[in-house]
Symmetry: C2
Subunit: 186 residues, 2 copies
């Protein structure tokens, strides 16, 4: 009954990867976390290939039931946005080739799901991810916290398993359920 | 000695594909031209997979020596730019997986190479592509003309084969050489 989600925070220079197992009672366990980095001095095709091969091998190794990817926006008119979009395309198609469904979540959705506040900063997200996953120290590498948060968010937004009453076992999970209830009331 | 170039004009809804053979004397021959369309009503992962599989099959069927792709810019702040970037990432990685080198050219470079004017309109580009490829009618589908222009541009910008004096055999090729000479003088 464990639901395995892979989260990817796409980027051309650093791409956060995370795999989390979520039980019907929402207890969440870290399976794997990492970052695939590419050298900005290499060509675009070489960099995208590194990302593609890393995601392929994570999908094959961990066999997630779904891939959750951060939705990218053109409104963020920064120099890296095109590379981020290209990387996200490569990541999405890796899952699609394997018949693994892909879900997109915005940064605001992820922050709201994990902290209860869509405007939360990186520190707050990392703190809640650390609690939700019952880790003793914040996840390393630090910039993979968003990928973990994405995976958790997807499992949450998907809703509870049918017929299962969530059993809340940690303070973080209680906070999480309260935040969810607040979000539902909106 | 024929140099085979595949050109791709990336897009999520319509992606132009073209393969052109270019001889050392710059005589250019159409090998294949087409458009892969995806249904905007389908999910992003399904659409990117359709593009990925189309490009894979073209690369396997035609074995180009290089893939020329239009460079996308975030400055074009239009709603389709993120989908275009995601599609381009998928296209680029298809070539990278096969060890086929990828070259990026801007729309201005393509227009300048084919017509001698970086601000040329679509009609002018199509007209010159038709001439360069010695076609009796403009290429169909019409929106694949940019992919053909990309392939031709790449072969041109790559420069003449070493030790080969270009033999200009058509008026279009003479215009082309003159435009190239002008570009070099700048």
């Amino acid at each position: 009954m464990t639901y395995r989600v892979m989260g990817v925070d796409p980027g051309l220079t650093r791409c956060g990867l995370a795999v989390v197992d979520i039980e019907p009672n929402r207890r969440s366990t870290l399976v794997a976390v990492g970052v695939v980095g590419t050298d900005p001095g290499r060509s675009l095709d070489e960099r995208l290939l590194v990302i593609s091969e890393a995601v392929d091998s994570w999908l094959d190794l961990h066999s997630p039931e779904v891939l959750a990817v951060e939705r990218v926006f053109s409104q963020l008119n920064v120099s890296t946005v095109m590379g981020t979009a290209q990387a996200s395309g490569v990541v999405i198609v890796s899952a699609a080739r394997r018949g693994i469904p892909v879900a997109l979540h915005t940064p605001t959705e992820v922050k709201a799901a994990v902290t209860g506040n869509g405007q939360a900063d990186k520190t707050a997200v990392t703190k809640m991810v650390t609690k939700i996953l019952r880790l003793e120290t914040p996840p390393r590498p630090a910039d993979a916290a968003d990928a973990l948060a994405l995976a958790i968010t997807h499992a949450w937004r998907r809703g509870a398993q049918p017929g299962v009453t969530p059993g809340l076992v940690t303070p973080a999970q209680r906070i999480w359920a309260e935040a969810e209830a607040r979000a539902r009331r909106r």
